[in-house]
């Protein structure tokens, strides 16, 4: 008779521990979301007419804030056994995608190149390979990149408003390359697939901007081939 009760106490032990871990994780994730919103606010200014010159300083500011991100992530890592990453994945998945987006956006603004998974991992101070520790799942990396793509389509529009007629063409080339990359993937009917469907609209929007510029003779073919 004892054994059934004992068994359930034993299982209850597991469950409580699990709940505690989740509670801890939730708190850190909340802090991460807060800082992610702050970085976003910093970067949003690039959409302002006046914001274009300030890109370098804004990126520097963002990179500073990523220090805090790293601290929180370091904290997060201590909250659960490393081999159980996917057990709690849902908790940080969303914020990690946001942070990837922010890192990718900073890198794009700085160098107009696609951030690699390695670079994101480095910016967040996490791993690329699961075996090595808290890592960046490839689907989360891709989701973050897709968020950036949609931000870039917005940037293309606002660049024109700010009088920068060259940036949209560079963005167009960049996004086209990204699109070609995504076409290589076999996605399931999951959120990533849905996001990827959105990329087509971003590409379309940018194409329309480029078209608007070109019919007005405002587009100069960027020196594209070289600066990538």
């Amino acid at each position: 008779m004892m054994s059934v009760t004992e068994m359930f106490s034993y299982i209850q032990g597991f469950l409580s521990a699990d709940q505690d871990i989740r509670e801890d994780i939730r708190k850190v994730v909340q802090a991460l979301e807060q800082i992610a919103r702050e970085i976003l606010t910093v970067l949003q200014s690039v959409h302002q007419p006046s914001g274009f010159k300030e890109i370098p300083s804004k990126c520097a500011k963002a990179r500073e804030l990523f220090c805090t991100v790293r601290t929180h992530i370091a904290d997060l890592k201590t909250k659960f056994p490393v081999e159980q990453y996917y057990r709690f994945h849902e908790h940080w998945r969303f914020v990690l995608q946001r942070l990837t987006f922010l890192a990718a956006f900073v890198v794009y603004l700085e160098t107009e190149t696609l951030v690699t998974r390695e670079e994101v991992a480095q910016i967040l101070s996490i791993e690329v390979v699961r075996e090595k520790g808290f890592h960046l799942d490839v689907e989360d990396y891709l989701a973050g990149v897709l968020i950036m793509a949609s931000e870039l389509s917005r940037l293309a529009v606002n660049s024109v408003t700010a009088g920068d007629y060259n940036r949209p063409l560079r963005i167009s080339n960049f996004i086209n390359e990204l699109d070609s990359g995504f076409r290589l993937l076999n996605l399931k009917n999951d959120p990533l697939r849905k996001r990827y469907d959105g990329l087509k609209y971003d590409v379309k929007k940018i194409e329309e901007v480029v078209y608007d510029l070109s019919i007005r003779g405002l587009a100069k073919e960027p020196e594209s081939g070289g600066d990538k």
Partner: protein, 280 residues
């Protein structure tokens, strides 16, 4: 019907791609890696789903087989046959373990959880029939230790552990254990009703005790467990009710034994009241 107005825009993608020599682009190269990574993962997931379906089907059949214990003369025969079946299921679970070697088991959990739950149900049912106790998670896991499958040829095995250490284990998650045990209660209820139908009077009372313990256990866990448990709790409660009703009926009708039969009853009762009833 539509003007062809596109000539003003830079150029078709197709051409752009040609220009840019996409094939050597680092972006494309990176995405080829991603493609492989994703496909590998999806393929593994799909294989796990298929093995899980097999595990489910065979576990269900084992449960059906085990229900025969209330109607056949030799319980041991059935148990032995179920051992063979469960060995087969375990081999399948070994395949799951093989697929999960070096992976984060949680990543593929959804693929194999239905099969594992059904296995827990089957193996705990067999265990109850044999021992009249609840199998523990450890006991379940202890039987999910596999010697390395033979496919690793001498050539490739150099990088793994030196020798004899080709051991692979599968750990049932507590939530799967719980969900399997929750389903077990339905089978126990069926067994209880069958027992009454077969004139077996002890088993229903034993079962009602046992089920009550499991029910109290689940009440104790309450809503701290996984969400699916709460859903199954209602069925569990219904099963307990059916078993309690059955015991009630046995008791009520037993109250009517005419005086002249009472002596018989008590003497035969005495003979059966002892051995491995520590369970109940």
């Amino acid at each position: 019907m539509s003007k062809r107005e596109g000539e003003g825009c830079p150029k078709r993608r197709a051409e752009a791609v040609q220009d840019g020599d996409m094939t050597s682009s680092p972006v494309i190269a990176a995405f080829k890696v991603f493609q492989q990574e994703l496909d590998t993962k999806h393929d593994k997931y799909e294989r796990l789903v298929k093995i899980s379906r097999d595990v489910t089907i065979e576990s269900k059949r084992t449960i059906f087989l085990l229900h025969r214990v209330t109607s056949v003369p030799d319980v041991e025969d059935v148990l032995k046959e179920s051992d063979v079946k469960l060995d087969g299921v375990r081999q399948k679970i070994g395949q799951i373990a093989e697929e999960l070697r070096g992976e984060d088991i949680n990543q593929f959990h959804r693929a194999f959880t239905p099969g594992v739950q059904e296995y827990v149900e089957a193996v705990s049912f067999q265990h109850y029939i044999r021992h009249r106790t609840l199998i523990s998670l450890e006991e379940i896991n202890a039987r999910l230790v596999f010697m390395k499958a033979e496919k690793v040829d001498p050539k490739g095995s150099a990088d793994s552990l030196p020798m004899g250490a080709q051991v692979l284990t599968f750990q049932v998650m507590p939530s799967d254990y719980l969900l399997g045990v929750a389903d077990l209660t339905g089978e126990l209820m069926r067994m209880c009703i069958s027992s009454v139908g077969n004139g077996d009077i002890d088993t229903p009372f034993q079962l009602s005790q046992f089920l009550r313990q499991i029910h109290d256990g689940f009440s104790y866990i309450g809503n701290t467990g996984p969400y699916e448990v709460s859903k199954k709790l209602h069925t569990l409660r219904q099963s307990l009710g059916k078993v309690e009703d059955a015991c009630y009926t046995l008791r009520v009708r037993g109250s009517e034994i005419p005086k002249h039969m009472l002596a018989d009853v008590f003497s035969s009762r005495a003979a059966l009241i002892d051995p491995d009833e520590g369970v109940a």
